[in-house]
Amino acid sequence: MEQQEQFDAVLAADERIEPRDWMPEKYRATLIRQIAQHAHSEIIGMQPEGAWLTKAPSLRRKAILLAKVQDEAGHGMYLYSAAETLGVDRSDLLDRLHTGAQKYSTIFNYPTLEWADVGVIGWLVDGAAIVNQVPLCRCSYGPYARAMIRICKEESFHQRQGFEMLLALRDGTDGQRAMLQDAVNRWWWPSLMMFGPPDGASANSSASMAWKIKRHSNDDLRQRFVDMTVPQADVLGVRLPDNDLRWNAERNSHDFGEIDWEEFARVVKGDGPCNTERIERRTAAHTEGEWVREAATAYARKQAAKVGAA
């Protein structure tokens, strides 16, 4: 029990648990599940925006979008690296993504129908991600917290480039403004779902809070995001598609409508607009890259043999 006491003392002192420290098996399993799911989300998250790389309206927008998609890949790599410090194998995690045994964020199962969607993803989806992720920089597991610090620094560019693109649409033609509003209509509710089920129904929340993996509840973070986003929508001149959204002076916060949790459950289970397409694309990229991995391995072996012979 001495090990448990030491673990508890580190948490109580708000210090970090490091890879080779003793930790409860459930703490380890929770972290593996969460970090892997987070890494998968970054990797799958390359697809909705990647779809617009060849269709970006200018070279400037294309260069920005390419850098952003490269960042998503990088974030996935930082996170797989953090997960591996817990004793799992990266290729096993990828297998579990491909077979559906591990999930990724539901948000990436929605399609990017128009160019405005790319900007709205930067504004709302990355905005929600930032609200979720900033507290993770103080997560009790050291490697995860350090990865999140890197990620949050880069995420700020993602949100700002999105908002800047939306300002251009706001100042554009009626058609561009309509495209902007349509994208907001489609992405608003899925963005609110990114914070996960309501506190009462969140299976993993309370243990994660006690372990200081999570610092705030799903509903608290969701409220923070809504309050932050409403004035930004005014700047863009768009309407957030919720008739119940209004300022509540008593709570000093915005009230907002009921989220469609049945839709959320459907998308989690695999029945969202793009679930199948995302996993097929991801699996194909992995399978079609097999020869590259083999070639690199063969080359490395050859070089090593040459050095050995010399």
Binding site: W22, G74, E84, D89, E154, R293, T297, Y299, Q303, A304
Partner: protein, 93 residues
Amino acid sequence: MSEWPLWEVFVRPRRGLGHAHVGSLHAPDAEMALRNARDLYTRRQEGVSIWVVPAGSITASSPEEKDSFFDPAGDKVYRHPTFYTLPPEVDHL
């Protein structure tokens, strides 16, 4: 991917500073590890020099023996300058 060994990555942020650990990656050999580390950990000029080290080559102290391992330094307060009381005229020493 895991047939490729794991490499720990260390980056020197700028001249005058030491290399600091930033994370890890998989690569078939040292040269690819270095190139991948460049793409992964210095996309915004975070470094002027990179080391990659096979993860298996690192020998680490064990967290379990942390106390006995670092204890010997614990009772040697005389190694610190603040251990010595000097008169005010020379206390800037």
